[in-house]
Symmetry: C2
Subunit: 346 residues, 2 copies
């Protein structure tokens, strides 16, 4: 008999609320014969204030034993910027080698977009997750003086670039349009840019059916608002991926519906699924948060674990729910979760 042993990290702010709904929908969609075990972990601002810890080796050992991780959100204004980001979120992505950061963008019928017209948006960004300017390399000298110098080092390896580029080509190959765009800034960041571009072109030879294009990151932001239908699969580095996926979320319905997976395709470590949005402390605890992004992250999680039919049921339920929202009164976090749970079970 099948089972899913899930680590659950509600985290800070609205994380608690949205994760509860994600689990509700997960339980509702799973077939009877699949045994779902969940273990909750208390990470984030509360733990940091209580113990000074963000993520210990013992924590990593414990998390490692799960099949996957569902995360709500981490972050609180009471904690200095960077402490939880570097000390928890990025530490986990790096420790578990989450090199494929998967972020689909699909504008569903009935969903509002800030763009004029009715653009067709349906693409997925494969963001590298373990290299680039996110490595924490760099430093500061003469801190706080008028002679301070601060550096940030973007580290890019053939190994790291090739595996994520290969993953993106495989995803493009599996989609009807079979298109892949590399986003970088190879006219300025020539060292990293040439590495990315060369490997991209090399791997392209193994995927003759995939149509490729290269685009500078600045130009990409223009296309994302003027021709978003142009994109099918995008592969890009950690920082550019961070930027373009927030913009992609904004044009395709907002971060209320943007899901993501921090994936280790080798399976050596559990992958982690989380909404793209943050902890939104201003609306926390009020039942106002939209759990849809978390529910869609649960679908990514199920797909990753091989439950394709169940993932599709969630996607369909969300699409149906969103298409019926216009003109209706706003629902609470748990009302939306209830509605989705009913739909996926029915």
């Amino acid at each position: 008999s099948r089972s899913i042993n899930l680590a659950v990290i509600p985290g800070d702010g609205i994380g608690q609320e949205v994760v509860a709904e994600g689990l509700k929908v997960l339980s509702a969609v799973l077939p009877q014969d699949v045994k779902l075990e969940t273990e909750e972990y208390d990470f984030g601002a509360r733990r940091y204030h209580a113990t000074g810890e963000t993520l210990t080796d013992a924590d990593l050992d414990a998390l490692k034993r799960h099949d996957a991780i569902l995360l709500g959100a981490i972050g609180d204004p009471s904690v200095p910027s960077g402490v939880l980001e570097r000390g928890f979120l990025l530490k986990l992505r790096f420790a578990f080698d989450h090199h494929v950061n998967l972020r689909p963008s699909k504008l569903l019928p009935g969903v509002a977009t800030p763009l004029a017209g009715e653009p067709e948006i349906d693409f997925v960004v494969v963001r590298e997750g373990t290299e680039g300017p996110y490595t924490g390399n760099g430093g500061t000298i003469r801190k706080g003086t008028e002679h301070e110098v601060a550096t940030e080092v973007s580290v890019n390896t053939a190994f790291g670039v090739e595996r994520v580029v290969r993953d993106a080509f495989a995803r493009a190959q599996a989609r009807p349009r079979k298109k892949l765009a590399l986003i970088h800034k190879n006219n300025v960041l020539t060292f990293a840019g040439h590495l990315w571009t060369n490997i991209f072109n090399q791997v392209a030879e193994e995927f003759p059916e995939v149509t490729t294009e290269y685009m500078h990151v600045d130009a990409a932001t223009i296309y994302l608002v003027t021709q978003p239908e142009r994109f099918d699969v995008i592969v890009t580095d950690n920082l550019f991926g961070d930027i373009v996926t927030d913009l992609a979320a904004a044009v395709s319905g907002g971060i209320g519906v943007a899901a993501s997976g921090n994936i280790n395709p080798s399976g050596d470590f559990p992958s982690m699924f989380e909404p793209v949005h943050g902890s939104a402390p201003d609306i926390a605890g009020q039942g106002k948060a939209d759990p849809t992004a978390t529910v869609l992250s649960v679908a990514l999680l199920l797909r990753h674990l091989g439950y394709e039919a169940e993932a599709a049921r969630i996607d369909d339920a969300v699409a149906a729910d969103l298409s019926e929202r216009t003109g209706k009164p706003a629902r609470s976090t748990s009302e939306i979760g209830d509605a989705l749970a009913v739909r996926v079970a029915g």
Copy 2:
């Protein structure tokens, strides 16, 4: 009697055509008593192919003697990516210490935007121009092998950050809304991020009338499409500035109307003014390019040299021209230039 001694760099592709119109409007707007001298320089792809040179020390000496530089566009697919960008454009910005890269975004009446509704967009980005990931620091080892490692080093100094932050505060102070946003990614790029944030907060104390906010670059892309009216002045680093100004141009009428100044406020070296768009080789030589961004760059140039009334006349002429475009047949590059020249003279 007054005079302007201008270096003119038409460059590649549509650069030639749009610069001709920029000069036409400049001649038309200048009072009789101002003597305009122009000297044309042949930089870009043609020169590179003929001589292998992009920008020599002798070129820099010659350019240095001018009051300002007007640039069309540099870049051609026949030249490998990075050669002209690093070898000419960035070399010039760095050699002449163009640390204030000024990019206004204003959505003028009658101009199309990809955004729904009728957002009010009127802000200016002060992009740092001589530091950050643009320094060319970094390198490659084991090039072309499976063990290649490529690094890019972002260099940030208290000196470099403070002067551009100070410039941005002064600009915010001089505007009616007096708002300044710092855009960075200080939760991940903590070394550079803390330097920027600390200096921003320190300088803020000297400008108590300016309302400040901090925003991560990823979140900024969301606000640029959902709440662009939120922005008044933005200050940011070289790479983030590159990205957000292309997005800003896209939402405020497109790169056909986006102007920029590469400014050295000390006056030790001439400042350079250029449209944000590139050389667009696909439409070069056909009279299809819109010279408006170049004409608006001429206005920035005049304002920088102290010709405020003339700059304002150009801005007004462009606004009037744009407001009357809807529904009319497309005009050629020189027809648009002629129309603007008539307006500014009238």
